[in-house]
Amino acid sequence: MDAAPAVLEARNLRVGFRIPGGTMRAVDGVSFALRQGETLGLVGESGSGKTMTSLALLRLLESPPAELAAEAILFEGRDLLRLSEGAMADLRGARLSMIFQEPMTSLNPLMAIGRQIDEPLVTHLGLSARAARARTLDLLARVGIARPEQAVRAYPHQLSGGMRQRVMIAIALACRPAVLIADEPTTALDVTVQAQILALLRTLQEEMGTAILLITHDLAVIAETAHRVAVMYAGRIVETGPVAALFARPLHPYTEGLLRSIPRISRVREATLPEIPGVVPAPGQLPAGCAFAARCGFADDACHATRPVLTPSGEGREVACWKPRHG
């Protein structure tokens, strides 16, 4: 896995929004590399900038009001920032694909789902209508939809939430993308259906070698699905590394706090859950030092004065903290 080359690389990605009296930074210098065939989890709470990051990568942010800047966003060796709108549209849904939380808003309610899957096959791959339909039936079977011949005639509202997400996955993977960006793909689903969809993504990834950028607020989903993880806080990555090591020995106090605050099913019940005091600072009101310092039990004057940057700490891990845990 370590040797696999990066298929998608963000270098110093920034997203700001013009507001009266200045710029609100939603994403503030995010860098990461997604390697061929791996799943990289991007985890964070609301306001962390994880969804803004995904929309920026796909160039789906409307500008203005959004301002997107980066040293580079490299996809298969090309800088996405330098592509024309048309070239970008050719990539999206073909080599670079995405699925979102609520498939109902991404599917066309007036079009039978068969045609919605045929479409990218015809436009991106240039297949004939007949060849596209054959591929569509195959795709539906592969995403676990029983009786594809009937399913192609169904409209989105006739399907359950889990089935709609399967259809979205079929559309997203129709052109065998190099990268799939999945933004909270199972958040709207029941837990038994979530387990089905996560298992499906793992299987399809093994078959197709697609790299997945998995964006979620749920650390448990990351633990079960991702190879590596990047933890975001207030628009920045504060810690990154292989999933097993990061969950076993979190370095950043925020990561540690998040992991400890999850209520777990265990025989012994703790009287109180470890909580992270306070709230995430508003994007317009970031302090000069570490953005987490005000909520951190280990912060000292240095933490409040100077912002730590991501620094390698061995085993492919990096942390942005003056006082890392387990250090």
Binding site: G162, D190, V191, T192, A220, A223, S261, T272, L273, V279
Partner: protein
């Protein structure tokens, strides 16, 4: 066993399905279809289930925010199922509800102070300086600053708004609080704050809770008793330990197996439960779980299982357990 604070017997809440054209009744959604529950004073009962299980309808039917179709709700020894509106209003001082999204249950044009004063005014229990003091007490109780009284809901974060929702529910010192997914919309770090608050208040004020949630981690953390619902019925109930560590119903087992764990490499080896939750408008015959059940037998599609009591207050509705 102590006399329960609340007892629910054979609760059914059905909704008519009306035709589009003439609004004629063409079917029935059996959202809640024969539910028995009991909560002892000072205990926390968790009701878990996926969408369509009827868990929210149970909560609202207990408070008669939705009128039940059949069955009895007995609170503090009184059958409240047929109480008149006026009597019900008095009773609502004793049983309160906290919703998932405080933003949609707090009036955006009212200050927090006025929102928290409203219960005292409606029930005519305080005014003037006394009222202001009671509002200040409530804010203190839920860990909000006194200045909060002058501010509006939109000025607060989700966690702080849920504190306001809890404060309002506590205003008239109820005995029972029903929480309908009270922490589901919150980030995990804030969720822990609110769960700790609920637990502290329970101890300080001697409260009894019914916690409705799809999150099994949350339920296992805070609940003493658990009822697992599937398509309008309780399929298994009992003490927390029995449900989480000795489940007998295949649905409970599957639900527990599907919960993702924040521990890499711990993923359960068995295949996830297939299929979707069926529509409560067209529930399967026999045991409603049989089309998805990995251990279904011939009789499961024909005959609905009855609840079987196991030792220790553990109750299971499954032919595998029912025997005979």
């Amino acid at each position: 066993m102590v006399e329960p604070l609340l007892r629910v017997e054979g609760l059914r809440t059905h909704f008519p399905v009306l035709s589009k054209l003439l609004r004629r009744r063409v079917g029935t959604v059996r959202a809640v279809d024969g539910v028995d529950l009991a909560v002892a004073p000072g205990e926390v009962l968790g009701i878990v289930g996926e969408s369509g299980s009827g868990k929210t309808t149970v909560g609202k039917s207990i408070l008669r925010l939705i009128e039940p179709t059949a069955g009895r709700v007995v609170f503090e020894g009184t059958d409240i199922t047929h109480l008149a509106r006026r009597e019900m209003l008095g009773l609502r001082r004793r049983m309160q509800i906290v919703f998932q999204d405080p933003m949609s249950s707090l009036n955006p044009r009212m200050t927090i102070g006025r929102i928290l004063a409203a219960p005292f005014e409606i029930h005519d229990v305080a005014k003037g300086a006394d009222l202001r003091e009671k509002v200040a007490d409530l804010l203190r109780l839920v860990g909000l600053p006194a200045e909060a009284a002058q501010r509006f809901p939109h000025e607060f974060s989700g966690g702080q708004r849920q504190r306001v929702g809890i404060a309002r529910a506590l205003a008239l010192r109820p005995r029972l609080i029903i929480g309908d997914e009270p922490v589901s919309a919150l980030d995990v770090s804030i969720q822990a704050q609110i769960l700790n608050l609920l637990k502290r208040l329970q101890g300080e004020l001697g409260l009894t809770y019914i916690l409705i949630s799809h999150n099994l981690g949350v339920v296992s953390h805070i609940c003493d008793q658990v009822a697992v619902m599937y398509l309008g019925r309780v399929v298994e109930s009992g003490p927390r330990e029995a449900i989480f560590f000795d489940p007998k119903h295949p649905y409970t087992e599957a639900l527990l197996a599907a919960v993702p764990l924040p521990e890499p490499g711990r993923r359960a080896a068995h295949a996830p439960l297939a299929g979707d939750v069926p529509s409560p408008a067209h529930p399967p015959s026999g045991c409603a779980f049989h089309p998805r059940c990995p251990r279904a037998m011939a009789r499961c599609s024909v005959e609905a299982p009855v609840a079987t009591a196991l030792p220790g207050g553990h109750v299971v509705a499954c032919h595998l357990v029912g025997g005979a």
